[in-house]
Point group: D2
Chain length 337, copies 4
């Protein structure tokens, strides 16, 4: 049974595996002070600009919790879409560090500037938490992406209200290659963000980027304290070094998007509606249960939302490792109806 359940079903890109082989017995410093990490950081800075700090971290929840708990004082809170990963799928990791997640409703997974302003106004005095950080994900949990204009507007509303803008980029490369936003833009428009490796060719690892100079101080202490400083940091260094060599990370993302868009087109052609109009590697067609059952004979995937007895939105996820012949097969089935 072929799986379209997620983008972390396979191992790692072959370039990374080969590089692990080549370098395996070379002695290197521990705790991300090795030469591979040094190189990876250099390569990443070519994309973001040199003013940022780059830390390689083992996972996304790790990065979110250490970023937010490091940036906020105890009474400060973050604003997130209700569908935000930190709000729903991190087992209260942010609250476990002491901070409230304030939610705003969102159909497309994006936080809107007016929602930020509303929350700032609502939290008026010391009997309530103080909003201090806006958390967004790009692409969002439902596959949509922010335009540069949207990010610029969020940046402005944050600056105007003394708020930090933090971006969760677990699948960031797929957003970059399907929107007008670059890593350089992000390094200017956000205070901090991360570039996901795990869901795009790495076996684990996220590159945590801090632009705001006030947020950089002592970050290695925080990483260590949260158990996120790998003794063999070389594993992270080698991966990001390979991912940013010849823009491999973006090529892999473009491939994942392309395969998702092929499926999306097929659904549209066959007259199916979409739950959200994703332009990245997750798509959410609304299908009748008969077709869903038929697809389930060949593929595994998640039911995203059971709309009524007859219809459900499903989630199909592609990746750098997606087998094109399986996508072809799925498209055939859709055509057959």
């Amino acid at each position: 049974m072929y799986s379209f359940k997620n983008d972390y079903s396979e191992g790692m890109h072959i370039n990374i595996l080969n590089r692990l082989h080549e370098t395996n017995m070379v002695q290197a410093e521990g705790y991300t002070e090795d030469m591979y990490t040094e190189n990876a950081v250099k390569r990443i800075k070519e994309f973001t600009g040199d003013h940022v700090d780059v830390h390689l971290i083992s996972g996304g929840t790790q990065t979110n919790l250490l970023a937010i708990s490091s940036f906020l004082r105890p009474h400060e809170a973050c604003i997130s879409a209700d569908s935000g990963h930190i709000n729903v799928h991190e087992t209260g990791a942010i609250e476990a560090t002491g901070h409230k997640v304030i939610t705003v409703t969102s159909d497309d997974g994006k936080v809107k500037p007016h929602q930020v302003i509303d929350q700032v106004k609502y939290h008026a005095d010391e009997h309530m938490v103080k909003p201090r950080l806006v958390y967004i994900s790009n692409p969002t949990e439902v596959g949509t992406t922010y335009s540069k204009e949207e990010l610029t507007a969020l940046n402005k509303v944050c600056k105007d209200n003394d708020l930090l803008l933090y971006l969760d980029g677990a699948r960031l490369a797929t957003a970059i290659v399907s929107s007008d936003v670059t890593l350089k833009d992000l390094a200017e428009l956000t205070d901090a963000f991360f570039i996901g490796g795990t869901k795009n060719g790495a076996i684990l690892g996220e590159a945590f980027i801090i632009s705001n100079p006030n947020l950089k101080r002592d970050m290695r202490y925080l990483i260590k304290q949260r158990g996120a400083l790998l003794a063999k940091g070389r594993l992270l260094g080698i991966q990001f070094d390979e991912l940013f060599k010849d823009e491999l990370i973006f090529k892999l993302a473009a491939y994942a998007n392309q395969e998702a868009m092929r499926m999306k087109e097929a659904f549209i052609q066959a007259g199916h509606k979409l739950y959200t109009d994703s332009n990245t590697n997750q798509i959410f067609p609304i299908l009748n249960m008969t077709l869903i059952k038929k697809l389930e004979e060949h593929f595994s995937f998640y039911i995203w939302d059971q709309i009524d007895e007859d219809y459900a939105a499903i989630r199909l996820v592609t990746s750098w490792a997606t087998d094109q012949s399986q996508v072809d097969k799925l498209i055939e089935i859709i055509k057959e109806g």
Copy 2:
């Protein structure tokens, strides 16, 4: 300008003050191990039954945060109405101890059994927090009260789903005297609750009652750790001893309710609508701005919700200390229109 803003504008009931005088130079043990606290606990147990543990704590936010942080493991969360005090007006005190507050919408301030079930179902696996405690307040933030039937239903849904039921009773006595629920009922239907003193004749202090034997262990450690163990615990002991002598606490609550209901009747008689149909010492009439401005010439109170340009709901709060002649005066103005 007479204030109907809250029920903590004056000092303490004269019986308490007199008792503080009488006992002032008597030497007593520290940290609520004094004879006054011992007496107060005995008196309270006459109402709750003898199976409970009673701790006297300095304030309501204190009690909520230490109860919930003591009862839950790190990944466990509490369910609250969106208007719940812990969700809105405690500056993230619960999250600061590491726990998420899951909210359910509520017009009347109450949590409904089906909402609890929905949340338990929704939080299906280890990627999400695990609901473990249902937080309710009685009366609610909008002055409504739970019936014994409603509490029994909540108790059942909690038991069925391995959830604790915890009740915030910052104004509990006003609910007891205007509903069919007794302290004995609460000691059977909840796992823990507190009886508010601050808003009902004491100058500070809440009586924290733990019924569930599994939750009692080491509570004094937790109280101390959160800074809630007063060196001169006598101040709490004397107050609750007086409040429970001859049921003073219920007499004060009945008086507060009576004065609020007099105002409520006057609003209804004059054709005004109510925002919520409170039966305790807070009322929420919806008035036009002209009348509100007129009232503001004589009284201070809070605008609760600005409904549109012409209308707003206001909050009027009475207490044990409310001056009846001021209530008379307000009623006169309402009659005049």
Copy 3:
């Protein structure tokens, strides 16, 4: 049995009690925004200088935990004498907010500048916590006091090493009246400190003073979040207003010290040794068990340290409320031997 166990056995100074009576039915704003608190703050600033922020808090552990958790980032730690109250007698309140207490050994209860430097040097990299705050108490847990010269030296070593200096003044007035240090000095030499009320004539309450402008921001949020913002803040305001009227607080402290020194002299005269040479309201004579047993027939007090089978250091504590005739009686017994 008369108690010399502590300085919180009685209620409150009669001036405070009378003032509570006079003001009891006056309506006042909640949450320490009342006129009594306003006055108290003004009076305190006459002693400290006008550059400080003053917050009235319910207790000492409360103040310590909210100060330290507010001042530090997650990876930062405080340095304390091993006998420090935060290290031993606050049930891990500081750690519960996420911060390590680094200890240095101390016979006289004081932290020495060279010990601070040693700890800064030892904590060399991100694998260890980062010392950021030096916690001292004055008087110390064993009754000794810092001289102005000692505080100036600590201030310098803190400034030189980017450390904050925080002073726990649970019994501060007794140190002020028996040393060359003034409240103005403390407001210059420390970043923050507190003036204890509970152990010197108040029934509860400490005045938390913040000198360092960088530490002042949003403190009311923190106070609220930790459950330390009393709804009826008037209780704190009235007490500190009275305590600082005509320097009552220092007169009470001087009385407590005087009675302790009378006892100390008697022990010395009778040939007994002292465990530490306290100059404040706690004394620690080393006595043989026969004499201890004899004293225990008339007085209650704590055995501080059982030195061997025959000898122990005991702790005797006086206060504003100490009965002189009981001190006379104790002195008689000592003379008898």
Copy 4:
């Protein structure tokens, strides 16, 4: 320059690397629910007995912090040797989860039963934290190991005092092969422990073993919340599957020990003293600075303790990857003196 600085300078054992290659494009479930992890767990249970729960975690600090924060209530504390990793080298990770680390002094890195009893007695009431867990590491930070008799005695003292016994096994295999203790013993004598992979042939990963049935509940929630649940758990599964196939993990540990013991013998033969008498893969000879400087021309290693101007203890660490010819070379230099 060849490094004896630590046991995490190289990548991973070739068997693991080969297996990663073979399995790379196989689709597997996420979050350690894959078949490789399932196999690894089975293999581990062959050594520990079937009554344990096994979780594969990314690192040692991670494992320590999630174990301890999961096992303890807020007021409970752990007892550790002052040299314990959680006390010194985890940047306050335990305190960041809210718990105090109580330390006992130890020259050989081990916690003694009488020290545990002393701490239990000392922490007598609710004004102090409550000791609840004894943390030990095996081998200790200075290379020594616990005998079965010592562990049995610790187990008894813990049971007698309602304490949990938790063992940090970052280098556990080196202790197992050089002592009379087996994994089965540990699964009986401790409540939980972990088997280190990172320092013994894996590129990252520790196997966290829970024996005490009361501690098992909901552990996957805790792992997720702390950011320690790897999306591609296969990376951990494959490694531990290989490490426990044909007892590879113990063979690698035996090799590391053997090379360390060869060096130790050479130092002893040449008349040098040892700082601690390690029987595992870290040795601590005391050398004069002239010899140290000479060694530094060829090897990198840490100065462990500068004893005086002329002498220092150095730390030399071997591993599964140690180059025997480099050990030979070092032994030659020692012989030359």
